[in-house]
Amino acid sequence: MRGHSVDSPDVLVVGGGLVGTAVAYGLAREGAKVTVLDQGDGGFRASRGNFGLVWVQGKGYGLTPYARWSRSSSRLWPGLAAALLEETGIDVSLKQPGGFHLCFSDEEMAEREKRLSTLQTELGDEYPYQLLDARELRERIPTVGPEVIGASYTPMDGHVNPLKLLRALHEAMQQRGVTLVNGEEIGRIVPETNGFAVHGKKAVWRAPKVVLSAGLGNRALSAQVGLHAPVAPNRGQVLVSERVAPFLHYPTINVRQTDEGSVQFGDSMEEVGYNDFTTADVLSTIARRGVRAFPLLKNVRLVRTWAALRVYSPDGFPIYEQSLQYPGAFVVTCHSGVTLAAAHAMRIAPWIKGGPIPDELAAFRGGRFLAAEHATSHAH
């Protein structure tokens, strides 16, 4: 029974995706002894299907702390990428040249202006952006098509290779002594006098603290330790092309060229439950928009398509909370595991270790949904 051994960890992290491994890596940097309990290959694994943006632009409209939180993570990202390279030799290909949101209509441009000007008013100088007309945009990106009438640009955005990121986090955390358990399925979590008993198929794991970073699994797990994380799947579909010569040196919200030359197309959102299959209609819509943006891609071959399930809360924002009822139990869940990886490693982990809670987190308690659900039930 490994879970009962004398060298049991300080923290159990449930989930070995981008969120769990970033937290575990950060905890190991803080000197904590950590075990990560990861699912088998049958898991939904948003971490293996995402788009790879480190994106700030437009996020947090309606909840300013999320804009601050994303901005903070993008600022910490160069430090994370450098540390991963130094510790593992894996270059996650972080590039932060700023990002473009291409627009095809005056309505889209107006929407960008409203969103970004509101955020800038709330965040001040920390939130630079530009709205570019067709001519200005073509000076920056000569390959955009004639149907693109303009774009918003912020220097805050970037992208990485998300698969290399996941691999680097796994490697780095284990080099720092984190134990990774693969193929484990967690059913019950039982609060005990000095911590938690986490019941898996393989063993009962015990530690004074437990972090729930199990993606869609957080919904059922958090209820057992006095937390509320009503996350649900939100499907995104992605297409990827053959590798082509470099033509696009900035990420855009729905088309980007990867460090190795392939072109990714994405940004669909569908609520279809736990269905992670692709559909021809959504894929063709994504492809058509991509070719309108960059007509030179018209004859480029697509080599793969896939779908993945975002871990989506009812308002789309993350949930970060320590249980009031069972202190030592934390939930860390979001749909932007790439963008927020640096904040998870460098700001969430020190908090879990015992440091002060980051200011922004007051806005991200799971209890906000209980209030909403309560209000809704009264409205009926």
């Binding site: 053959e242 010569a245 033509f247 007509p295 891609l297 018209k298 004859n299 480029v300 080599v303």
Partner: protein, 118 residues
């Protein structure tokens, strides 16, 4: 460029499989017809089909069934074609695929590839 073939043709030649003449990297090659470009090139002793875009390493066909994308070559001006999925034809001009394919200039968007019914 070519060497002693690692593969040999097993079935007796039929008319469809009669020898045809193609070009590989501007050199004339005699190859058996009635098969994929990849199979024909392998039978003729071609071992280096392309260089990878990331490291420039040499590559040759691996799966021969359209899954691995290791057999990419340029065929009659069309870059990055899966040679295991294209039937070889007399007179074809084939080039090894050197790294990532180029994109057409923005001003030159002719539908060449679709016209070939891919």
């Amino acid at each position: 460029m070519t060497s002693k073939p690692l593969f040999k043709v097993l079935t007796p030649a039929t008319d469809a499989q009669a020898t045809i003449h193609i070009w590989f990297n501007d050199q004339p090659l005699s190859v058996p017809g009635g098969r994929s470009v990849a199979a024909a090139l392998l039978a003729a002793g071609v071992q280096r089909f392309r260089a990878t875009p990331v490291s420039g390493a040499p590559r040759a066909p691996y799966c021969m069934m359209g899954a691995c994308f290791e057999c990419l070559v340029e065929i009659d001006g069309m870059p990055s074609r899966q040679s295991c999925l294209v039937t070889v034809k007399d007179g074809m001009r084939i080039h090894s695929q050197e790294g990532a394919r180029d994109l057409p200039p923005s001003s030159d968007m002719n539908p060449l590839e679709n016209a070939h019914g891919r």
